[in-house]
């Protein structure tokens, strides 16, 4: 049996509700790690990234897959479970891949009148610890820390505010959110 | 006890029971059936389907019964039900020139291929109360004849052939859907037409009327008004062709509008378009007038500041479900805000009086 038929939510209404709450808390509290269970997508797509797509993606949200994730199995799985079309980075509502592979400058950062039309980026990582960056901004009481692939990009992303990209870092079944509003410094 | 505005659960239940009792009215009078409403209140059913954006005469009749004849309330019931329905896909465009006509008139030509068909109209009836209808069982039978064998093409096509009509290139792109995407301005013509066809009949009528009285005048003639049924077909990808899934009754109106030309367009006739579920000709004509008025920018016409030319004004205010909800919400308790206003007014008054007293003392 083809693998793309399995690995979705078994009870979509409640599982996606719980997954959304985790995602909401993650983005609303940058640096705080949440657990996203329930999806078993084909490798190398992580369970957390899979759950994110099952919760948020559908026919109306084009997806860009970076090369290592652009496999027939992953495409088949995403198509079967969400119906999301695959597109170039410029048209993507969701972009997914490893940091080094993501064409960040080609993703939409939104427009001055519609900053919500910015892409959301799902970054697959090997680890969410130890921390190497200090975060401040909305969602953070004073300051917090996180492990990020670099700091310079996030500083320039912040300088675009209210435009900019929003990030979800995934690792296994864990997720960490980093909205465009967060200020990032190297530790 | 402090319970002034606190109705709570029991009050709500009692109110709903009372409503149900009032809906039935005097139980000695026979209860209306859905079929009776559907067959004998057909124009009300049509309006509910048109403004409810759902073609289902039985459900519209049910909504009218449940709403005690309040048509906006019935539209609301249909809209709320419609939202919960799964969307299987879009139909292919309906072919209104292949309509099985029950009515078809043109004000711009004395006769045309296919002929003028008056159909079941109130036109030329003398509006005298017909007391015979107070008695039951007086069914009347209209004369019949065989269906017109000749085709009835769109009358405006005839003008089109002479190059006098503005060209109307065919679009096969999927039109936007304001029930699935938030309204964004400026809107495209298909989106405006969708808003108008489900807009409140009274609002669209008044807007159209205002253009006739000079607020954005468009010199409209009814080029053609046609009412009838059309087949609805859907492409089935598995089959590779379209199959008929049912038929709907529609009213279509095309106006011919005199147009002396602008900086960008040559003198020609232009058109306004109206298409509405069911036999809804007042609505279809109104819609085509408002459509034409809203096209001023694309035709290079002058913005006279008329309400019917103002896309934002028309589109944001034509929906009676939005309008009635917001209007009626001021029935809800607002005492927290009112208290805040009370404090403010008391304070401003006290300060004003203190200032006045201070000035008097100083004088």
């Amino acid at each position: 049996m083809s693998t793309h038929l399995t690995g979705g939510f078994t009870d979509a209404p409640t599982q996606s509700a719980r997954a959304f709450r985790t995602v909401l808390e993650a983005l609303a509290r940058p640096g705080q790690i949440g657990t996203l269970a329930g999806a078993t997508p084909p490798a190398p797509l992580s369970p957390a990234a899979g759950a994110l797509l099952l919760t948020l993606a559908d026919q109306t949200t084009p997806v860009y897959l970076a090369p290592l994730h652009d496999t027939a199995e992953i495409r088949g799985w995403i198509t079967f479970h969400t119906g999301a079309p695959f597109v170039t980075p410029e048209e993507a509502v969701f972009a997914l891949g490893h940091w080094a592979e993501l064409p960040l400058s080609r993703l939409s950062a939104g427009t001055a009148e519609y900053p919500d039309r910015a892409a959301s980026v799902i970054v697959e990582t090997d680890a969410l610890a130890p921390a190497n960056a200090r975060l401040t901004g909305p969602g953070i009481a004073t300051q917090t820390t996180a492990r990020l692939p670099e700091t310079a990009f996030f500083q320039s992303n912040r300088s675009l505010f209210p435009l900019g990209l929003d990030f979800y870092f995934t690792c296994g079944d864990q997720v960490l959110g980093l909205p465009r509003s967060t200020r990032v410094e190297a530790l | 006890m402090y319970v002034a505005v606190k109705g709570g659960e029991r009050a709500i239940e009692a109110a709903h029971d009372w409503l149900a009792e009032e809906r039935r009215g005097n139980p000695e009078v026979p209860e209306l059936s859905i079929a009776q409403i559907r067959e004998q209140m057909a124009l009300a059913v049509n309006r509910v389907m048109a403004e409810g954006s759902l073609y289902d005469p039985d459900l519209a009749a049910l909504a009218i019964k449940q709403a005690r004849g309040d048509l906006i309330e019935a539209v609301f019931l249909i809209r709320a039900y419609r939202t919960t329905l799964p969307r299987f896909g879009g139909s292919v465009p309906v072919e209104t020139d292949k309509m099985a006509l029950i009515r078809r008139i043109s004000a711009t030509f004395k006769d045309a291929p296919g002929g003028q068909v008056l159909g079941p109209t109130f036109d030329y009836t003398h509006r005298l109360l017909d007391f015979k209808l107070m008695a039951e069982g007086a069914a009347s039978q209209a004369q019949t004849r065989d269906a017109a064998p000749e085709p009835a093409p769109h009358i405006l096509q005839l003008l089109d052939r002479d190059g006098l009509m503005e060209p109307q290139p065919r679009h096969d792109s999927t039109p936007p859907d304001l029930t699935r995407a938030p309204l964004e301005l400026p809107a495209t013509r298909p989106l405006r037409l969708q808003a108008l066809t489900r807009g409140d009949e009274g609002f669209v009528l008044s807007m159209a009327y205002s253009t006739q009285r000079g607020y954005g005048r468009t010199h409209a003639f009814v080029g053609e008004l046609r009412i009838g049924t059309v087949a609805v077909e859907m492409d089935i990808p598995e089959l590779g062709f379209a199959v008929e899934i049912g038929e709907v009754e529609l009213t279509e109106c095309e106006t011919v509008n005199q147009f002396t030309g602008s900086k960008t367009e040559p003198p020609q006739f232009t058109r306004g378009y109206g298409l509405v579920f069911g036999q809804s000709e007042r609505k279809a004509i109104s819609m085509s007038l408002v459509d034409r008025a809203l096209r001023w920018k694309e035709l290079g016409e002058e913005d006279t500041g008329a309400p019917a030319q103002d896309e934002e004004f028309v589109l944001y205010h034509c929906d009676n479900i939005q309008a009635t909800g917001f209007l009626e919400h001021i029935k809800l308790p607002h005492y927290v805000d009112f208290q805040s206003e009370l404090e403010l007014i008391r304070r401003l008054r006290a300060e004003a009086q203190a200032t006045a007293a201070h000035q008097e003392a100083a004088e």
């Binding site: 209210p162 | 029930t179 964004e184 009370l342």
Partner: protein, 293 residues
């Protein structure tokens, strides 16, 4: 106590999954850009526009079966619209309801922020009638959108300044505009300005839903929120200059209740849970029954 179940005739929390996904995406963009109004394809709900359809859709998109939901209108759990919305979710989502602010994980509100400070893990959902703070200064959406894009809020400052010139004070007592994180001017919904200081630095997530106007916006926890004012006319939250006649609270927002046709009145907490919790803890006010004192 048996856990309630949702009515199997409806999807969990009423809305279909595609609609919830669309609303969830809008909420997340709202979180990412605090104070910016995200357009969303608001659905027709089985209650009228203007009666909380925006809040209801946001709540529906957020609820999980384990939630405890509190619904208030004017600060009270037992006002008719609050009862109606609470019943809707008990039926369609099967969630437990509570009147206790401290026990609720999701609170839907109209016109008030609870007196009891909120905590991390809670979500406060506001019902919003007119989300656009500039709407009554500029009726055109195309214009106000441009003003937000350019952060051009001169019109708002002129309006507030004219108030001061004419009345000696800013004549806005509710829906008092705020500036979020130094960028967007936002309508906090028609809460009394007394509640404005609770908007900023709040540990809870605050979500705002305007159904008819098709907008969702958000304040993440601990967001910087400033009520608009001038250096020489600083913002002042205000309330009736009384204590609660039932629980004696001096710092809570009060309803003024007319008790007879001679002009007698009493003042009581608008937050019914706050007042009751205080009374249960033995606090008494001017008009508390004798035996209770």
């Amino acid at each position: 106590m048996n856990a309630p179940h949702h009515d199997p005739d409806y999807n969990f929390a009423y809305l279909d999954e595609q609609t919830k996904r669309m609303i969830r995406r809008a909420i997340l963009k709202g979180i990412a850009v605090p104070g910016y109004q995200v357009p969303f394809a608001s659905r027709e709900m089985p209650m009228p526009y203007g009666w909380g359809t925006g809040g209801v859709q946001v709540t529906a998109a957020c609820l999980v079966p384990e939630d405890r939901l509190k619904v208030i209108d004017q600060g009270a759990d037992d006002t008719t619209n609050a009862v109606s919305i609470r019943r809707f979710f008990q039926r369609t989502a099967g969630v437990e309801a509570t009147e206790k602010t401290t026990e609720a994980s999701v609170i839907q509100t109209r016109h008030r922020i609870p007196e009891t400070p909120l905590t991390e893990g809670q979500i406060l959902v506001y019902q919003v009638p007119i989300p656009e703070p500039l709407r009554f200064l500029e009726p055109r959406e195309s214009e106000t959108r441009r003003m937000h894009a350019l952060a051009d809020y001169g019109l708002m400052h002129v309006k507030l300044y004219e108030d001061i010139a004419r009345h000696g004070a800013i004549a806005t007592s509710y829906a008092y505009p705020v500036e979020v994180e130094g960028r967007y001017v936002m309508d906090p919904s028609p809460i009394p300005k007394f509640d404005n200081p609770k908007l900023g630095g709040n540990p809870a997530i605050q979500l705002f839903g305007a159904g008819r106007e098709q907008r969702i916006y958000a304040l993440p926890p601990y967001t910087a929120v400033r009520s608009l004012d001038f250096e020489d006319y600083p913002f002042e939250p205000s309330k009736a200059n009384h204590d609660c006649d039932l629980c004696g609270a001096s710092g809570s927002y009060l309803d003024e209740v007319i008790t007879d046709d001679q002009g007698s009145r009493m003042f009581v907490c608008s937050d019914t849970d706050y007042c009751e919790t205080r009374r249960n803890a033995g606090h008494r006010g001017r008009l508390s029954p004798e035996e209770a004192r």
